[in-house]
């Protein structure tokens, strides 16, 4: 009896999980499917789910009519550049906090994280004016700096939690053998922290890739990444939906892949460590 009820429960839960999962995935799926339709099929009534004329012409058109590759390249440069610089700054910082902690370490960390909680509009005007005065508007360098600073607290904090798990004794042993701080970090700490650094890197790439507040307000075309490109397209007017879907699909494709591997880090980073 009890067993039967358990089976029923599992069946019911599995079915509802499928249903909810489908609903959740539907918008993404539909966007991907639409990107392979002709503009006519995209609006056919009733909607064609799988049995339509598959075409890749939208992808070709997107590149022809606009400088898609340019914006995609910007996205890669901005996400990659800001992540690498953030890591360069954050590894020493996290090292210092994880291996020579003081009474104030926890407070410093929380303070750093708290800056990430503030709405960015609070600093928009001064940053904008600085950018204008230093001729950084619509430049990749300026944007890399802002994105890097914006995500730095999370990067430091993630690395800190990973470094914490590395036994201090190993570093101390290296120290006894006369390794300098630099050597200790590069040859002892880094190899052990590779998984942690890799997850932090993935998380930051996703965050920087998706960032839209600063990219929308500080760029127009030269340095504009995919988010800006798609936002500027965002009035489909009923005619270009398939093409817009193609552009969006290309923009989310890397995220779909990276996201699969780094969901845990995503949760960890976005909850400021409430969930590990």
């Amino acid at each position: 009896m009890a067993r039967k009820r358990t089976t029923t429960r599992i069946v019911v839960s599995t079915v509802s999980a499928w249903v909810v999962g489908f609903i959740f995935f539907f918008p993404i799926l539909w966007m991907i499917l639409t990107s392979f339709k002709t503009e006519l099929d995209a609006f056919s009534i009733p909607p064609k789910f799988l049995f339509f004329h598959w075409t890749t012409e939208n992808y070709a058109t997107v590149q022809e009519r606009s400088n898609y590759v340019h914006h995609a390249l910007n996205s890669v440069i901005l996400a990659g550049g800001s992540t690498l610089i953030a890591l360069l700054i954050a590894v020493p910082a996290a090292y210092a906090m994880a291996f020579s902690p003081t009474k104030r370490t926890r407070g410093t960390l929380m303070w750093m994280l708290s800056t990430k909680m503030m709405p960015p509009v609070g600093v928009l005007v001064p940053i904008y004016l600085l950018f204008r005065d230093f001729n950084l508007l619509d430049s990749r360098i300026g944007l890399i700096a802002v994105l890097c600073l914006g995500n730095l607290p999370i990067v430091i904090w993630m690395l800190f939690t990973y470094f914490k798990e590395i036994p201090k004794d190993i570093l101390e042993a290296a120290r006894m053998d006369g390794a300098t701080i630099g050597k200790e970090m590069v040859y002892i700490l880094m190899p052990m922290a590779v998984p942690g650094i890799a997850s932090t890197l993935l998380l930051n790439v996703i965050l920087a890739w998706n960032e839209a507040f600063w990219t929308l307000n500080l760029t127009t075309s030269t340095a504009a990444p995919l988010t800006v490109f798609i936002a500027s397209y965002s009035s489909p007017e009923g005619l270009f939906w398939a093409k817009l879907s193609a552009a969006s699909t290309l923009a989310i494709a890397p995220i779909l892949i990276i996201g699969w591997f780094s969901q845990k880090q995503l949760v960890r980073g976005l909850t400021f460590g409430a969930v590990k």
């Binding site: 599992i10 839960s13 599995t14 999980a17 909810v20 999962g21 959740f24 918008p27 993404i28 966007m31 009733p46 954050a90 910082a93 090292y95 210092a96 906090m97 020579s100 926890r106 410093t108 929380m110 750093m112 708290s114 800056t115 909680m117 503030m118 709405p119 509009v121 609070g122 600093v123 005007v125 001064p126 940053i127 904008y128 600073l149 607290p153 120290r175 701080i181 996703i206 998706n210 839209a212 507040f213 929308l216 307000n217 798609i230 936002a231 965002s234 009923g238 939906w241 923009a251 989310i252 995220i255 990276i258 996201g259 969901q263 995503l266 949760v267 976005l270 909850t271 409430a274 590990k276």
Partner: protein
């Protein structure tokens, strides 16, 4: 041991640049914004103080009222719905279903999407002439109407739908972690006592997860105050200004209306709202960890 002292000092030194940059960029900018909010600044910053005039003006601006009220409507509905749905999903995931990790990934996928893509997908889905309404009508239900996104009274609620889709996975993950942390003794006791499962969840398990729920509320509240890109991608604040949010108001005031003073006043109010939401939480969180 002087070597150790040097080591400690040098490890402080590597931390210094980060701290300095953060203090200058972050606090410097915020202080500047606060200062400007008390000046007459228009298109360009001016540094002569004029008291709280910008704030008075701000609260006499109808558009700010809409934006500010929208933040609470949007935020309230989004937070409640995301937490309820997220908790239900977490309970569902906790029933030993097959392929659990696949489902978990699917629920988390929206979270990895940018708000721009999210807004775009939902804008299209809710558009009366292209999306849901069009589809249902084509099935033969001619009178079906779902045009909230173009109705100034209801457009703000469409933002809630998109935000829920985006954020529920995060709550699910938090609550699932909480559910997994529940002592198995409690479940054994529930079984022995013969308490129905749904009651056990409602009366025993969920109350135990209250601290996690508080975390969820704070995290979502931070997101709500920050919301900007979702509105831009989905409604651009329209129809009219009916879906304006404070962040969009501030950006528009800064650039389109060239009124830095008023924009800064709005930004300061937003900072205060975030502080009100986060401050007590951080305080207790820090207090708990230190003990």
């Amino acid at each position: 041991m002087p070597a150790l002292a040097i080591r400690n000092a040098s490890s402080k030194a590597v931390l210094l640049p980060t701290v300095v940059v953060m203090i200058v960029c972050f606090y410097g900018s915020i202080l500047w914004t606060i200062y400007i909010s008390f000046t007459r600044s228009g298109m360009l910053p001016s540094y002569s103080l004029q008291g709280v005039a910008q704030y008075v003006r701000l609260f006499h601006t109808a558009r700010w009222h809409t934006a500010f009220a929208n933040m609470f409507i949007f935020g309230g509905l989004y937070i409640v719905a995301a937490i309820v749905l997220g908790t239900l999903l977490a309970i569902l995931m906790d029933q030993q279903i097959r392929l659990e990790s696949v489902f978990r990934t699917i629920f988390l996928y929206p979270l990895a999407m940018s708000f721009i893509v999210t807004g775009l997908a939902w804008q299209w889905f809710l558009n009366p002439t292209m999306g849901l309404q069009h589809f249902v009508r084509s099935l033969g239900w001619e009178s079906f109407t779902f045009n909230w996104i173009v109705d100034r009274n209801y457009a703000i609620y469409t933002l809630v739908f998109a935000a829920i889709w985006h954020g529920t996975g995060l709550i699910m993950a938090i609550m699932l972690a909480g559910l997994r942390g529940i002592d198995s003794e409690i479940w054994r006791a529930v079984r022995v006592e013969g308490i129905p499962r749904w009651r056990a969840y409602l009366r025993i398990v969920i109350p135990m997860l209250r601290p996690l729920m508080v975390t969820c509320v704070v995290l979502l509240a931070i997101d709500v105050v920050k919301s900007y890109d979702l509105v831009i991608a989905m409604t651009k604040g329209g129809p009219g200004t009916s879906t304006d949010l404070p962040a969009k108001f501030v950006v528009d005031m800064s650039f389109e209306r060239a009124n830095i003073g008023l924009a800064s006043a709005g930004a300061v109010i937003m900072l205060i709202v975030v502080l009100a939401a986060v401050g007590p939480y951080l305080y207790f969180e820090l207090g708990r960890k230190n003990r």
